[in-house]
């Protein structure tokens, strides 16, 4: 894995230097707290079992941020790299594909976790959001969900010829899931018909798992979600590895 450390470090720096990417990973999370907080507030509500809207939404916002990175940032960046010949330049050197992908995953994961820390920090400062789980368990949950979503992002990147197509595919998948999976609008206030659709959206399982861990439930209470995410991770990784093209 020669060069992994160096490429990861460069990717982190490139992430921060890229204004659009940096906005979505670092500025967007606090912005979500401010905007949704202004809309819903955090007053305890009987529909939400005595919790406030912001309390129950933090895991959902986490899912949204994981999705923007996985379904938008990753495919678009890789698509652009392929289009402009950056991947060709890497391929012509002694860079092994697994080093390239690992460095990209690690850098994106670190950036996302940093963004999520800002999300929680703002939620806590502005709305005193309640966290009832175990920090380590929640972070592991974030990583597990992130790996599945990122793997799907690399699959999109492997299928799409360029940055534009990657962007379109990412958006088509991202926006419906953002609103229908309980990530931004609490599932409890959605009509039953939409709740049924939500059962078919992968992001729903991300939201369910993260919300469970946020409120201190055990991993074994979410076997279905964990298994579905494992399936997405394995299938996406296998397909992406087969379909990946440097040019």
């Amino acid at each position: 894995m020669r060069g992994l450390k160096e490429l990861t470090w460069i990717n982190l720096k490139l992430n921060i230097r890229e204004p659009v990417g940096a906005f979505f990973t670092l500025a967007f999370p606090p912005l979500m707290v401010v905007l949704f907080g202004a809309m819903y507030g955090n007053d305890p509500s009987p529909i939400l079992g005595g919790y406030g809207s912001m309390d129950v939404s933090m895991p959902g916002y986490t899912a949204v941020i994981l999705s923007t990175v996985g379904l938008m940032n990753i495919p678009i960046t890789i698509g652009a790299y392929r289009e402009f010949g950056v991947l060709r330049r890497y391929q012509a050197s002694a860079m092994r594909p697994r080093v390239f992908i690992s460095a990209d995953v690690i850098a994106n994961m670190l950036m996302t976790i940093l963004g999520l820390a800002l999300l929680v920090l703002f939620g806590w400062l502005l709305y005193d959001v309640r966290f009832e789980g175990n920090v380590l368990s929640y972070v592991l949950g974030v990583i597990w969900c992130g790996l599945a979503i990122f793997a799907f992002g690399y699959l999109i990147a492997s299928l799409a010829p360029g940055a534009r197509t990657a962007q379109v595919i990412g958006m088509v998948l991202f926006f419906p899931m953002m609103f229908l999976s309980g990530a931004t609008i609490p599932m409890e206030i959605l009509p039953e018909s939409i709740q049924n659709i939500a059962n078919y959206l992968p992001l729903t399982y991300v939201v369910n798992l993260l919300r469970g861990l946020w409120f201190g439930e055990a991993w074994r209470d979410h076997i279905l979600a964990v298994t579905i995410l494992a399936g997405i991770l394995i299938v996406s990784t296998t397909c992406a590895a087969r379909l990946f093209r440097w040019e």
Binding site: L14, F84, G85, R89, Q91, A92
Partner: protein, 305 residues
């Protein structure tokens, strides 16, 4: 001298286009070897099969004892590649790129030495996207040299550069060879191949048209020399055919081209002109070039740019 690259009957087809059609040659250690030919001749496909980036449909390549597309990483450690078209992330800085690429190899040189050598030291902190075409090209050469390669591949190194930058690239390529590397390049500039290469492979439509030193290729055309000058419009130049060592004379308007042979050809013509008392200007000799070799072997002109 030993063979460092051996290419045997390689072919590569893209759809219905036969890009490379049975090409066989070898490259000696320490030489500057060039493939020259028009766009679409199969130069890039050939060089990329040798680098191991592509796999030919049939035929074999031996590079430093390896099969390049199978032993990709062993080969990558020992060669340097400058691609015809490639890029880096727009916001990566010059020194970061050198450090990153260096870190990929088992053996690598010092980034600062390369920055100095390629005159990029004052651009070390500049982002890739802000560099000029020539600076980008120099950075790509630096990246190709970062692992102290035994063989360096340059694909269309000077395309898009101005004549001055092109000449300094030539000096650089000679330096790289003088420091012990073998250089394999492609170009569609005949002059570049002629000035730079020890041996030249002329390629057209996927096949080898000729392969030899530039001098030998030019000599193989025969020893016809040319003398060019301009005269007043109404003067009849045909009388020059009578002079010794002159084969034929062409005149288009004021411009006269005299064809002949022999060491004393030029002085014979000049003497004839002096005696006839005609007012001639801009006299110069024109030696045949690789351009003429290509023309005489394929019946077509190379397209420049």
């Amino acid at each position: 001298m030993s063979k460092i690259i051996e290419v045997n009957e390689i072919t590569k087809q893209y759809g219905s286009v036969q890009a490379v059609d049975g090409v066989t040659f070898h490259v000696e250690e320490g030489e500057i070897f060039g493939i020259v030919g028009p766009n679409g001749a199969g130069k890039t496909t050939t060089i990329e099969c040798i680098e191991g980036i592509r796999r030919p449909d049939s035929g074999s390549v031996d590079l430093l004892g390896y099969v390049p597309w199978k032993d990709r990483m062993e080969v990558a450690e020992r060669i340097g590649i400058q691609l015809q078209e490639s890029a880096l992330p727009l916001r990566i800085r010059v020194r970061e790129a050198l450090d990153l690429f260096g870190a990929l190899y088992e053996v690598h040189g010092d980034s600062q030495v390369l920055l100095d050598r390629l005159e990029l030291a004052d651009k070390a902190k500049a982002m890739f996207g802000k560099l000029s075409g020539g600076q980008k090209q120099r950075l790509f050469i630096a990246l190709a040299l970062v692992n102290r390669p035994q063989v360096v591949f340059f694909d269309e190194l000077t395309t898009g550069l101005d004549p001055h930058a092109r000449r300094s690239m030539w000096d650089l390529v000679r330096q790289i060879r003088d420091q012990g590397a073998t250089v394999f390049l492609t170009t569609h500039f005949m002059e570049e191949a002629e000035r730079l290469c020890d041996r030249v492979l002329i390629m057209d439509e996927g096949r080898i048209v000729a392969l030899d030193t530039p001098e030998a290729l030019i000599r193989s055309l025969g020893v016809e020399r040319r003398l060019v000058f301009t005269v007043a419009d109404q003067w009849d130049s045909q009388s020059l055919v009578e002079l010794p060592r002159v084969d034929r004379v062409e005149q288009i308007g004021e411009r006269v081209v005299v064809y002949g042979s022999g060491e004393r050809f030029a002085s014979s013509v000049v003497h004839g002109l002096e005696t006839s008392g005609v007012d001639f200007r801009d006299l110069r000799t024109q030696d045949p070039t690789l351009e003429d070799v290509f023309l005489s072997l394929t019946g077509r002109r190379m397209q420049e740019e």
